[in-house]
Amino acid sequence: MSLARWIPAAAFACACAGAAAQDAKKEIEKYQRMIADSSPVELFELEGEALWKKKQGPKHVSLEACDLGLGAGVLKGAYARLPRYFADADRVMDLETRLLHCMTTLQGHSREDATKRVFGNEDRLSEMEYLSAYIAGQSRGMPMAPGTSHPKEQAAFELGRKTFFYRAGAWDFSCASCHGEEGKRIRMQDLPVLYKPENARPVVATWPAYRVSNSQFKTMQWRLNNCFQQMRYPEPNYASDITVALTMFLTATGEGEPYRGPGTKR
């Protein structure tokens, strides 16, 4: 990687046994708190706000009439209620799936056009990433409460739950292979057991998130896409039912946690 000169994989903190490990854990938590306190994510929220209001697409309209579940143009608290069932599409949708829906129906983009660049980089975020930052930020302080009463919402949760434990791919992995047992880590990275509410809560409360290691802003669709890449699967379709189902599974598992994102992570 290109940061190599600045950040060689050298000098690891001796996070070994007993009290030392406890101290190391505390210090890492302090680090995480400090980077969140001095995070630049608000800049991305500002860009997202401008994009939300910008007239775009063949129909030359903004996204301001987009209904994220609480009524056309209502942003306050909308992210905390996703994923949810949308009658107009007869589908359960997460934030990005819904935005894609609005880009095609309201702005007149083709699906192909609107998904050409959904994952950006450190030099330029994608529109989806800026918009996610802005919209998620409008739910700060509100408890995560995805839709779980509609039969299709429940079906999405169940599909997500089954997929989480289903092993496949070139390396025989399920999500639970890495996120199914307490106290495990990959290299130095702790692995939260994501089917348990106490572990899912802080995760769903902080995505989407800014990654300080590569200065990129990442959405939930990216998070799942990258998991499948590392699991050596083929690639999930963007905003497909299975990605929405997994997000529904995680979000409903972490239900009730006040949203405090967009987060800032290592």
Binding site: S2, R5, P40, A50, D123, V212
Partner: protein, 103 residues
């Protein structure tokens, strides 16, 4: 779209607690792009914080300040309605500036 810059300021008595967010790549000159070419040095060098037009903090920084810099400062003797302005200048001569009224 112009690169955004954002000031967050709050008053505690007569002290203004200031946080400023800047959009800047802060390139070290040692990072490579996708095709393996070095990306040239590109970083903010100077920052000025002004209260009602008077400079109160003047900073010089290097490329070792993190990408998308965020700073916190504190300014004494401030009151509601005071104008706070922060500007930067980088090694290419590019500048940006933003201001806010203390409340």
């Amino acid at each position: 779209m112009a690169d955004p810059m954002k000031i967050r300021a709050g008053l505690k008595g007569d002290i203004a607690d200031v946080r400023v967010l800047m959009n800047h790549p802060m390139e070290t000159g040692q990072r490579k792009d996708g095709s393996g070419n070095l990306i040239p040095l590109h970083f903010i060098q100077e920052i000025a914080v002004k209260l009602n037009g008077k400079t109160v903090i003047d900073a010089q920084i290097s490329q070792a300040v993190s990408r998308n810099p965020v700073f916190s400062f504190r300014v004494k003797g401030a009151k509601a309605g005071d104008k706070l302005e922060i500007s930067w200048l980088d090694n290419r001569g590019e500048r940006n500036s933003t201001e806010t009224s203390l409340a």
